[in-house]
Structure formats: C-alpha cells, structure tokens
C-alpha cells in the first residue's frame, strides 16, 4: 500500500443503518409502535440507492448486507485500510426528508443514540456528525444541545439540497448552536426531493441528478456568504462533503466579479466572496472530479489559492476510486500532509483535544 499515508483523519465515512428495525431500540414506545404498526420500513435517501455500484465498492461489500453496515468491515477497509487515526461518520438517512417534523426529531435522536452505542462506543477511532431534523430549527437545536457534551460528535450534518438555500435565516439557530459548542457544519450531497434537483427543473436520468450536485453546493455557497452567515458567526466552519472542488476557481471568480458590481445590495459582505470562502468553507477530497493530468490538477489547486481548504476523505464505502488510489495525481507530499491532518484539525475544533 505505497500510496497510503498513515495517521490521517478521514473526514467522510458512511456507516449505514441496516433499516428501521435497527432503530427500534432507540425510539420511545410511541414511535416504536408507529413505525411497527404503520410498517415504516426504510428511509434511505433516494440520492443514494444502495444497489448501485457507485454506492458500495465491490470489495467493500458483504453479500446480503447494506454497504457500510458492518463495523468490522469499516475497521478493516477504511480505518486500517488507509491507516487513519480518526474517521468521521456521516450516516445518511432520510431524517431531513420526513414531512412530520416530530417524527423526524424522534428518528434523529434515535440515529444519534444508535451511532453512539453501536459505532462510537465500540471503536475509539470514530467520530460522528449529529443527525438533526432541520425541518424545525428548534428540534435541531434541542438535539445539538443533547449531544454537545459528547466530544465525539464533531459536526452537525445537513443536506445540500433542502427546501431553501442554507444561508436562509431559518437555519441560523442551528448555526448559533454549532458555533456555541465548537461544532462544524457538514453539508452532504443529497436532496430531500421536495423540489426539482436542478435549477432548471427535473432531469430525466440518474446521471444528471448525480452530476448536477455541484449546482446545489454552489447555490449554498453563495447563500451562506451573501446572507451573511459568516459575518454573523465568524468562528463557524462549513464542510462541503462530496461536493467536488475543482469547480471552485471559476465559480469564485464569477462570485467576486459580480460582488464588485452589486455589493451594495449586501453591504455586510465587505470583502471578496472568495476570501470569505477560503476562510470558512472546506471540501472533502473524494469524490474528486480530477482533470486529465497531475499538471492540470496542480494548476487548479493553485487557482483555488489556499492549501487549507481540502480535507482527506475516502467516502467509504462509496466507490470513488480503486484499490488505495485515494490521492488524485498532482498533490505534493506537503499538501497531502496538510489535507490528511492539519486541515481536518483546523476544520473541526473538537478534534484538537484528541490530537494533542
């Protein structure tokens, strides 16, 4: 495993909930009965159909099980496989897409109990994102307060395509709670499918849905900056998970150019959007939309203009690369070291203690 560098922090692994049955022990009797009597059997997000090859690498699958549902395999393939000292669990389940906000809050709470008992308590190298029901910020804040005492929760997880762009004030109580507790905001690719998944309406094919994810992230990036989230919460870091990052240079150029002409509309944005993005927003490594050559990648990294923004990730068990080729061509050893350890440490204030 020559390309593996040990001691990194894997900022995106996906333990999978096997199904609602696994959550029953963590739901209170009312919701246990609702789930059982109503036959609510699965809330997997449509964004990630598990039977698709891309959502479970063949050599990381176990026959008859959802990819990512085994701690043993995650230990072997993700933690040991890449020599990571820590990995951050981002369980993807349809909590954010449930219309009944009370049920959503109950499932979020159960998810966090489940990940604590069945993953964090059993593997000291694991950290996790807090699952929240962002449908109602009050519910989400309650859940953040409930978990904040456990330093193994390092992030609050949101989806990239929710009802409104993420700069909306509806989310601010969540950001305030995160800032208060030194939690990072993680935005994972995925849609609640309550509105068209592209800004032009519904596409016909899965391919379009998947490739258009960058659009959703880009809208969120503009929204977070221009609604003033970072002006309001100057300590807040936001991690875009599975957004890709090679689109950043041209997008930031466009944002800066537009800002120069119409910045009076948002006078709290008192420096170029790219500066704010570089200070506050981070991007996970995988999947990388890599250009054809390492030299091209070096140029893109140079245009991004900061060595602080990328965070190591395998996206386990999703299939983004083969073997242990987690590093796209064009990353220097110095940059790899930053991406593996320094950048995650700075993006997640709660990791500092574990790493000191």
């Amino acid at each position: 495993m020559k390309s593996v560098r040990h001691g990194g922090i894997d900022c995106d692994v996906h333990p999978a909930l096997p199904g609602m049955a696994a959550l029953l022990p963590y739901l209170d009797p009312y919701w246990q009965e609702q789930v059982t009597v109503r036959g609510i059997d699965g809330l997997d997000l449509s964004s990630f159909p598990t039977q698709m090859d891309a959502h479970g690498r063949a050599d990381w699958r176990e026959a008859g099980h959802k990819p990512g549902s085994s701690l043993e395999l995650l230990r072997r393939d993700a933690l040991d496989g890449f020599g990571s000292q820590l990995a951050i669990c981002n369980p993807l389940y349809g909590v954010l897409a449930i219309y009944n906000e009370h049920f959503a809050a109950a499932v979020a709470r159960a998810m966090n109990d489940w990940i604590t008992a069945e993953w964090l308590d059993r593997e000291p190298r694991l950290r996790a994102s807090i699952t929240v029901a962002a449908q109602n910020a009050e519910h989400a804040v309650d859940e953040i307060e409930r978990r904040a005492g456990d330093q193994r929760f390092v992030q609050v997880l949101l989806l990239s395509q929710d009802d409104v762009p993420l700069g909306n004030r509806r989310y601010w109580p969540i950001y305030a709670a995160a800032a208060r507790h030194g939690l990072t905001i993680g935005v994972h690719a995925g849609s609640t499918y309550r509105h068209a998944i592209t800004s032009n309406g519904w596409p016909s094919y899965y391919l379009e849905d998947y490739a258009a994810h960058a659009q959703g992230f880009q809208s969120n990036l503009l929204s977070l900056v221009h609604e003033g989230v970072f002006a309001k919460f100057p300590s807040l870091k936001v991690v875009f998970i599975e957004s890709g990052f090679t689109w950043l240079p041209t997008f930031m150029w466009r944002a800066n150019k537009t800002w120069r002409g119409v910045r009076a509309e948002v006078p709290w944005v008192d420096r170029p959007p790219s500066d704010i993005i570089r200070d506050h927003v981070r991007f996970t490594l995988q999947p990388t939309d890599a250009p054809p050559t390492g030299a091209d990648m070096e140029r893109v990294l140079n245009q991004i203009g900061s060595d602080d923004m990328l965070l190591f990730s395998t996206d386990y068990p999703h299939w983004q690369f083969d073997g242990d080729n987690v590093w796209p061509a064009g990353f220097s050893d110095t940059l790899k070291q930053r991406v593996l350890v320094d950048n995650p440490r700075n993006a997640y204030p709660r990791l500092k203690e574990a790493l000191s």
Binding site: G228, V229, G261, A264, P267, W268
Partner: protein
Amino acid sequence: MARHIVADAGEIPPGGRKLVTIRGREIGVFNQNGDYFALLNRCPHQGAELCKGTLIGLATSTGPGNFELTRHGEMLKCPWHGWEYDIRTGQSWCDPNDIKARAYPVTVEHGATLVKGPFVAETFQVEIEQDYVVIEV
C-alpha cells in the same frame, strides 16, 4: 505638471460635474458641496467613461440586515460593471490599493492670483475679481 483653468467657480453646481479635455485627456470635474474633485474619464477596469456614471453614497453595514448609507454622492458607479470609486481619491471600493482611477488635484483660485501665472486657460478670459476651478495635470 501644468495648471489648467477648467471652469468658472459658479459653473458647476453642487452635486454637478463637467467633462473637460486637457491635452487630449478627458477629465471629469465634480463639485461636492463646494469641494472639487477631478478624475480621468476612464475606468481602470475596462476603460468605460467612468465620469458619466451615477454618483451614489457609500453602503456599509455592521452586520447582516443592517444597511447604512454615508458619504452621499461621493462614490462614482462605473456605467459598465458598476464598480464604485471614491471621487475624492479615485480609489475603487472593492480593491482600493490596486484599482484606482487617476485623480487630479483641483483648487479654486482667485483670478487675481491666477493672472500672476503660470497657468493654461485656452478658453477662459480670466477676470481678476472672479473665482476659477483649476486642475493640475
């Protein structure tokens, strides 16, 4: 550097402007409540006729949702892409150190001083008892 008389003092009303051509250069002269400023009529971005832009105030904020407007009429908004320039200095708001419109010193002087020279007044008959707007170019 030569001093050029470009207007009678009463000619440009407060908030008004006059475009003049000095040695082939178009320059906008602005009267901001009795203070005069002059900028080259060429935006450092892509060369628009900057001095034909709208005069606006400076929008600032103490935080999201807070809007303040100060320095009324002291910012010039380029007619092409809307970049804002400080008419006092020519500095752009978005990149004040690197993007600047060329600014020229302007004074208001008595005809009595001016007749002692040296100055250039191609189109002006200088009267001793009058005030004039003078640019150094």
